[in-house]
Amino acid sequence: MERFFQYAISGLSTGAVYALVALGLVLIYRSTRILNFAHGDVTTAGTFVAFTLLAFNVPFVVAAVLALLFGAVLAMAFYFSILVPAQRRDATQLGQIILTLGLGLILQGLIAYFGGTEPQSFPFPLSEYTIYKVGGIIVSQLSLGTLAAGLIAAFLFYLLVQRTRLGLAMRATSENLPAAQTLGIPTRRILALSWGLAAVLGILAGLFLAPALLLDPFFMLEPFLKGFAAAILGGLNSLPGAIVGGLILGVAEALTGGFVSIAFKNTLAFVVIIVVLLLRPEGLLGEEFKERV
């Protein structure tokens, strides 16, 4: 039983990261119906910015904030300079998804060129080796911090979406774009803001992941794909679903790794994707999606 809780708690902290990644994906999907394949690469770019700033002895908090800002600006620039012109030329939904893939490829190449492909260790104020022992369960400072950061970010995000005028505008835009426009909501600015916010959430996840993994241009690929799985599990158009899906996936992975086989741990996410899509494509908390002629 103690082992169970041990795995569950470490799974929860990984799950918090997946939840943050999934939140970013869901935020964009539900407002623009675009799957953001560049999400992982934007996150990596942001984390590399933080890494570079830290190398110049910039205090950690400043570096992190600048990295988050960089990601937000990058995502908004992509929205305004590539997606909007493409939409003006009647790009299909699939075409727009492919555009994000193109952005991802470009970022990936640039990061590898400027950042180098060697894995580097990421300096972080919280340590993986400082551990706390609570009733026989061992928790490292880093994973506790990750869990806290994930939950706080998710809570702040919830407040933003549900309790502010801006959140109301975001919800209206994702619910019905033409109606929101008619009511005078600046939908383009709101959508750009959604892209920026999604990048911020992703980079936050990246900053907490980088010290646990080693930093290289592809370090976000796997967490990004797991975030996808989490988003699918919770429902691609449901924000609470992303959090629930992320936490469930993290715990399920840790338990599979601990009790079944460590080799099967990484495959689980992809099995989850396929099974969920076959049995319940709308996910756990997503709304029923119907096809109308």
Binding site: I98, L101, L107, G109, A269
Partner: protein, 326 residues
Amino acid sequence: MDLIESYREELQLIRKPWTRVWVGGLVLALILLPLYCPEATVYVATIICIYAIGVQGQNLLIGYTGQISFGQAGFLAIGAFTFGHLARLGLPWPACLLAAGVAAGLFGIIVGFPSLRLKGPYLAIATMGFGIAVYQVLVNSELLSGGRMGLSVPKIDPLFGLSRITFNYYFNLAIALLFTLVSYNIISSYMGRAFIAVRDNDIAAEVIGVNLTHYKLLSFAISSFYTGIQGGLYALLIGYLEPNMFTFMESITLFVAVIVGGLASIEGAIMGAAFVILVPQFFSAYKEMVPVVYGTAIIVLLIFQPLGFAGIWMKTRLYLRNWPFR
């Protein structure tokens, strides 16, 4: 672009006499390639031939049937490893190649089942999940992947006294030409029309009498059959297999080839295959820049020329045909 007056004309592979001339010239130039090119070029051309098969298959799926797939590397791996294992058991290569295609095709049908319920983005994720799951299974199973040393595949000995590189080139060129011919025939037959109908509006297609389940699965099966053949030929050429040849990046590369070459165009598929092979060759000194070129090509083409290279090619042909009038 052409005015077609009869059904017979529609079924014709080549309609204009001049097209016959330049297509004949092109094929002749390809056949004579080893005579006037260094061996390195011939080798690159061989790889382009192999890739052209798989990209054509994926174009049948993405371009003609409108079903997106991000999991081609999975089919590629299944084809390659099927070929490798059977060839090691001592089966003759035609049997191995056929088995590679069929094995990938069967998995294609399995992956095709979600496509009956899922659309667009959801299907993209499901196929992506499949591709990565295949990779992970291979990485974790030494029995399938041949262990840490990889799986070595017996090569076939060159015939007719040709050098190995020249022989490989002719061998793969012949198969690629055969598959190109088959693709043209598929798209101008009932099957191809059904694919296009499914892409344009699946519900309307079903109303007209296209069996949706049948044709969606068929499209997946054919496309993954092509990809399986590509995998088998690749295994035969390289003579060595390891799971890291079939990462998510490989799926993306094949996908880029389809988009850059042009959706719903066989010539486009061949040009796209040439693109994704030639870019890493030209940028071999700046390997990190290859994805940048791919990404930029995708973005620029999708915004300014959604039909890809095939669209540019078609416009050039139209311009030349009417020259000097516009």
